[in-house]
Symmetry: C2
């Protein structure tokens, strides 16, 4: 092997992988958006075969030899190439430890499991989903043990979603949040209640879609490369490269805020992915580096920007224009208060910023217990309802609004949820830093995202996955990560809305 050829082969390998990713990602996306409802088995068939093929490519002699050669000649590699080799080897080491049959079965299970979850949620029927969820937890435990036999399985997955993360760190992080959030929520609860009447009512779907597209344009998404569809649970996915990005939303006719903030949230993910340097396309460095940094962007746009006073002031006339009758009795201040109302509730994706992290902590707690074998999957609904009652004081009326509400577990994303809270906290510290050079409020009041996006592109997006999450934090924050910045931000918001 010679270095020139090896470098060419490295690029070719990644291009090939990106084509399979495109195909397999699209098959899943199609399943959640367009595909007829009875076709899950047909999709599982194709994905089973394709995942067997990609498994063989990844773990095949040719690939392994190539990467070992490159790894042994690090001195001849650029920083980009070094990082590519590192990430590819990491993936392959994982794959090599999983028996192919289990890997393929798992890929097929994901398709079926999502389908079963979808129907289970519709019918609030946990029993039908339970055997699938059990398998999901089993697979994730087993895969973790294959990959890192000496590591705690849940720690393994936490570290996969955010390099460096573990239960110990998360316990400390959530502990710090809890200490200031619980009294903050109590204090808000003792104040006169804020009304959210202006966002509840009758909002026809076509108007909500027009609003969604306007928001995408406003926040600077390039709709030539970013598409919008509807799904049961909103998500974002890249197809093959950051040049084709899809976000999804879910319209609730009786609540205009749900899809609105979903679109801005997923739009934040899409800005991050599509902000990768052009020449990262079709490499493993294309798109965001970790779920923590990803959520720092999505929740930054959703909350820090879109729920800010300045942006709500800009947004209100658009809502008046689309829903004149509905908005007639209200002012932009009413809208600002409504979208910042602190109110313990049932649904994570619709929770306010202050109670949000409690939703995440509940999922973290439950995942921790099941992964540690301290609790069975069968016990999840009851435990879920109990924790919601204890932490948030709400009574879960059915599993649709309880343990079945999120899609994540249905596709095996166990250990993902903490990144939502972590990302939210990163975001608050990014804001503090951004304010040093960008007049964020002045720009938001004009609906001008140019400078804000430019700052994020420069500090975060354009790197794709070149830097580690920690490197991004270190370079951007120029200070250690401190959850108190996030808590300060939340307290100041509550002060403004509730006068506490």
């Amino acid at each position: 092997m010679n270095m020139e050829q090896a470098k060419q082969d490295l690029m070719k390998l990644q291009e090939q992988m990106s084509a399979y990713d495109h195909a397999m990602g699209l098959i899943s996306y199609d399943g959640e958006t367009t595909a007829p409802k009875g076709t899950a088995a047909n999709r599982a068939h194709a994905l089973g075969i394709l995942s067997e093929i990609t498994y063989k490519i990844s773990t095949g002699k040719e690939t392994v030899e190539l990467l070992e050669y490159l790894d042994a000649h690090q001195q001849d590699l650029s920083d980009r190439e070094k990082r590519m080799v590192y990430l590819l080897i990491k993936d392959i080491r994982f794959m090599q430890k999983i028996p192919m049959e289990e890997y393929v079965e798992y890929q097929k299970l994901i398709v079926e499991s999502q389908d079963v979850w979808y129907n289970a949620k519709l019918n609030s029927d946990f029993a039908s989903f339970e055997p699938y969820l059990e398998k999901m937890f089993d697979y994730q435990k087993r895969f973790a043990q294959y990959a890192a036999p000496d590591m705690d399985p849940y720690d393994y997955w936490l570290n996969e979603y955010e390099a460096g993360l573990c239960k110990e760190k998360l316990d400390a992080f959530f502990g710090a949040l809890r200490q200031r959030l619980v009294p903050l929520i109590q204090a808000c609860g003792q104040k006169p209640q804020v009304s959210d009447d202006c966002i509840k009512g009758d909002f026809p779907e076509d108007k909500q879609e027009a609003l969604a597209l306007w928001l995408m344009d406003t926040m600077g998404l390039d709709r030539q490369h970013v598409g919008l569809s509807t799904t049961e649970h909103p998500f974002t996915t890249s197809l093959g490269s950051h040049l084709d990005e899809r976000i999804t939303t879910h319209y609730h006719r009786d609540d205009v805020s749900s899809s609105m903030f979903s679109v801005v949230h997923e739009g934040g993910h899409a800005l991050y992915d599509t902000g990768s340097d052009e020449d990262l396309a079709y490499t493993v460095l294309d798109g965001g580096v970790s779920m923590g940094i990803h959520e720092s962007q999505s929740r930054f746009y959703e909350n820090i920007l879109a729920r800010s006073k300045a942006f709500v002031r800009f947004l209100f006339p658009k809502l008046q224009n689309l829903f004149p009758e509905q908005m007639k009795p209200y002012t932009w201040q009413d809208l600002y208060r409504a979208v910042n109302r602190v109110q313990p509730s049932l649904i994570r994706t619709e929770a306010d910023e202050v109670t949000y992290s409690l939703h995440v902590m509940i999922r973290y707690e439950l995942e921790k217990r099941v992964m540690a074998g301290e609790m069975t999957v069968h016990e999840l609904p009851e435990a879920w309802n109990k924790l919601y009652h204890e932490s948030l004081g709400v009574t879960v009326p059915d599993d649709r609004q309880g343990v079945l509400q999120d899609s994540h577990w249905s596709f095996g994303a166990i250990g993902y949820f903490p990144s939502y809270a972590l990302g939210s906290a990163y975001g608050a510290q990014f804001l503090k830093k951004m304010r040093e050079t960008v007049d964020v409020d002045a720009d938001l009041e004009k609906g001008d995202f140019t400078r804000i996006n430019q700052w994020n592109r420069e500090h975060i997006w354009h790197f794709g996955s070149l830097l580690t999450p920690q490197e991004i934090l270190d370079r951007t924050l120029e200070a250690p990560f401190d959850p108190n910045v996030y808590l300060d931000y939340l307290e100041s918001k509550c002060k403004d809305v509730y006068g506490i």
Copy 2:
């Protein structure tokens, strides 16, 4: 190699191919339905890589040796296996003769070309599409010459779309049609004009969609496995197997009949594909055998059934229900006459049954000339307009309604159009045969497709691609194919509508 292993490998090869077909078919389908408009290059990238991989699988040593072994041991194969081996070898022999680079470039070109055609049609801008169309004709000529150097290139492609077809046969077929159609059209033209006011007006898209879904249910499509989307040009595609079928339509707000008959047409294709025997899934025998037989089904449902007096009578109350204001002044007889009005026109997909074949003949004539090098692609618009004037007496106002109207050439389907006319004629002869055992009109009047579908399933659908087109015709018709049956059918329709 031993036979048992070889038979297993044969099935595995086909399953693998079906997974790639699923992936690549879906990438194309996504491009026409959901994908953001600026993503064609990203799709071409993925399809280029995947087509290189499938090329290598098809022409690779392993595949060739397997098929040659099976071919040499025909005595040990079932009829199904023999046919599988025959069809696979046929494909591979073709692939082997095409240089891989050209094959891959061509796959990428298709994606770009469809994208360029779409915009060219929107803007009625033939010039932008011309270089792509030129390349398409060049590729098809070259591929035909690679595959069959001793054969006329256009004959090669005609035979690909319908085994056994060639210019000589088509000239005779179209000659026979022309002889009776031209005077028939003239005779209708001399009668008092039929009004189509009842299908023109303002038909909101959501109501048209409700009608489309109702039609799909009525004609017996299983919507758990057959999806409906919208595209510039309606089409049908299977993803991986007949278990996931997609049809598309295009809603014209000012004309309710356009989408209505498109849906029934594409629905006919979908019935044929999804009617394959269950155990043909993931083999090359799954789905319809040829474009001629395919069009015999699509045009059978679209015209012979859906434009029949009996079905229109059943359909009319549904239209009254969906469009009460619009339909108020009319009776089902008005609708029957409107959808059977004989009127030379510009757009093939919206043409009546009688003038339809003339649209096909024009495309046949032009393809013949360009493929023979008697005409350049640059000259196509002028020649198109001239032929429309001569044959149909209509003046083409712009290329959008002229040479750019159909998508077929944009994805290289040259030699496809004649199957529309041929299929229509097959269909009329199928009807004659079906009437021997099924009271078609009585069933249509009740909107009951059970027996009609059963007959088609038994005689045509369930075989998938097991029988050749000629075998299907021979077994089903129990008589030679005779275009006069089709012409008799059309004359009798005109007699009924125009009293001639």
